[in-house]
Symmetry: C2
Subunit: 412 residues, 2 copies
């Protein structure tokens, strides 16, 4: 086939505040109105903490993207499909919190229930916000169900029963994965038995579990010396930390078809991490001192890298050159999934075809197909046959990646 | 010169408990005796938590090393020099806590004041233990001052004034660097102003600041599912975390000749870390959204990698193949320092020449010389001229690294 099944493993969606309001349980609407009023002040304060005014960047970005920074596509189905079509993307996975610049054009998942995992909010309030987002998202997915994999936001730390109930409700409405908090903060780590009902439910329902970049340290505080540099140096590690915690906890042996996906962290780190994990399981010299039997092998049925592309997929989002160079170790090529991060300004929009060509022209065709779409199709059980006509109509072409054609592109 | 200046940036030293007792302030000796009695039980318990009995490994290791696992060399000056001489090592940096296997042949730095940074002990008790170790170490260094760089253990978190006093006392006695806790636990992070007197003292006295691998997560607890795998997956990151915290705090701009050395973490991670740090400082696309001015460049005078080999050195200890392969980025070759980890069983002893040949034969001669010794000479201000006769007598030869000679080696 000349055209590629391109799946973005990292998109963001959400409506303006007044739409979220309609999806909230009535008891939380007054609180939501107050929260929305306070939020703009908070955004300005955080912007200040992070280093200043970004209004010039917003102006440039909105001009480049036709006036709205792509944020109409965060909630308008037709606008979103038009972008996907023009950029060669067939299908996408939908996370919350589209407006990272703080323009106010759309709202974040209510009460910090999105990428923030509910941190800083009363548990029932965060879960009410999650329900509102998940209801809205189910309706948004229903407008193009073949092309959208919606992830339920589940701020699960405080109340496991409520989390499981929301996972089941979201599945019932057609959502196909779960976003959990990246950090567990003062709650037990994810290797604790208390989370077992969550993993069991996600396994039973076939819903991959996700974390997404964004959470950082809590012991280095905003406003302290060098905070922004420290935060950006660490956010990647905090983002994929649940991977080795879940893996060594044996959860994938207890729930053999459970899937975990850390997203928007690139993939350059996967090789180094799994070399180390495998070395322990293989029983290297540094391991021998721990005991006569290899305790690592007792903890885990298979070699750590065997779980790549089976129980662990990597949402690499907009890969850099270093991500593409570090694919040789074992099953990495079976696990890495491209993404456009639409409509975040660090994403590939509006130059997706340019960036795909830049990153994939040096890859063998079959590996490009895996990372651009086939791995995601396996991870999410996509109906590739049903997607065929859409691929045939909009998919990125072989020539657009490997040919001599010169894409017009002026990368931002 | 045919022979190389080989400096181990990672050795461990400490005497049996009854020797430490003599160096303790009298008020702490009874407590020390009780602690020593309790310690063996604790070691056994920890061994159990970590996965079982390691007695068979200890028997094999002690047989291989002539009966004592190299632990006589942890405190006997002549025994230590005999090992260095036979293995081609001229000079070494001395950390505490030689007996990682828990054999009881020698004691750890009293009251957890060594690699544990005093965690779990009353601050005054930990500092008393540190004073005892530092006094003993100063005497041990004095037996071969040209060949030994002694690091003062300084559990500094609770009492900064006491820490500065101990740093000055240790310097007075001839110690030439400081080991601080790798983790700050519930104290403020190392970018906090409260630590300023410590950095100022180390800068004034020309004592590089060190952290050493060993500390791991506190929110994943021993005995929980997969703990050992999670610990080993994370210990590296916790070990070098102070690097980016100190760097972005601007401490190297305020104290331009202050040096920080994270040790026994390999060096494979340095390239990836500094690529990311540099990209922020350079102002990449992901940075632009934060503001109109680049806040990273405002936080730091020079590009992050410019601090490598100047304010930041890397104690790579016994490097693996992946450490040697990741040296191409900017000033990494000016910063990485080899080490033997003597007498820890994961070190190169008793096959140091075999491992040096294995890791360095593919490097250009001048880069091998940098990593094997010249970087350490710069980091610690070693008197290379005075060391010349020792190098000429014992140093690893060019032929031992690059020649056709077959070293007898039976790696453990």
């Amino acid at each position: 086939m000349d055209r590629y099944l391109v799946v973005s493993s990292d998109g963001h969606a959400g409506p303006p505040a007044n739409r979220y309001r309609d999806y909230l349980d009535p008891a939380y609407r007054t609180m939501f109105d107050e929260h929305q009023r306070a939020l703009q002040a908070l955004i300005l304060q955080r912007r200040e903490e992070l280093g200043g005014d970004n209004s010039e960047f917003i102006r440039r970005w909105e001009k480049l993207t036709g006036g709205d920074g792509g944020l109409l596509a965060a909630h308008d189905s037709a606008a979103r499909l038009a972008i996907l079509d023009s950029e060669g993307v067939t299908c996408e996975v939908l996370y919350p919190d589209a407006d990272v610049l703080g323009t106010g054009r759309v709202a974040a998942s209510p009460f910090g229930s999105g990428l923030g995992g509910g941190a800083g909010y009363e548990p029932d309030v965060a879960m009410a916000g999650a329900r509102a987002h998940n209801r809205w998202l189910a309706d948004f997915v229903a407008e193009a169900p073949l092309r959208r994999v919606g992830l339920a936001v589940v701020p699960m730390l405080a109340d496991i029963d409520a989390a499981v109930a929301e996972i089941r409700a979201a599945h019932e409405r057609g959502l196909r994965g779960v976003l959990i908090p990246t950090r567990w903060y003062d709650y037990p780590a994810y290797n604790d038995d208390r989370y077992e009902p969550v993993w069991a439910a996600c396994h039973e329902l076939g819903m991959p579990v996700h974390t997404h970049a964004g959470s950082g340290p809590t012991d280095v505080v905003p406003g302290s010396r060098g905070f922004l540099g420290i935060y950006t140096a660490e956010a990647g590690w905090w983002g994929y930390r649940p991977l080795h915690v879940l893996l060594w906890s044996g959860v994938f042996d207890r729930y053999p078809s459970l899937i975990y996906v850390p997203t928007e962290l690139g993939s350059f780190w996967v090789e180094d991490l799994f070399r180390k994990l495998d070395a322990k399981w293989d029983g290297d010299h540094n391991t021998a001192k721990f005991g006569n039997d290899n305790p690592f092998r007792e903890a885990l049925r298979d070699r750590p890298s065997d779980y790549l592309g089976r129980n662990i997929f990597i949402g690499a989002s907009t890969p850099g050159a270093e991500d593409m160079q570090r694919r040789d170790y074992r099953r990495i090529n079976d696990a890495v999934m491209w993404g456009n991060d639409l409509p975040h300004p660090e994403g590939t929009f509006p130059f997706t075809k340019y960036w795909i060509r830049t990153r994939f022209a040096d890859l063998p065709d079959h590996e490009a197909r895996q990372i651009l779409g086939l791995n995601a199709a396996r991870c999410y059980g996509l109906d590739v046959a049903a997607l065929g006509p859409i691929v045939a109509r909009v998919g990125v072409t072989h020539d657009e990646i490997y040919g001599d054609s010169h894409l017009e592109a002026a990368p931002f």
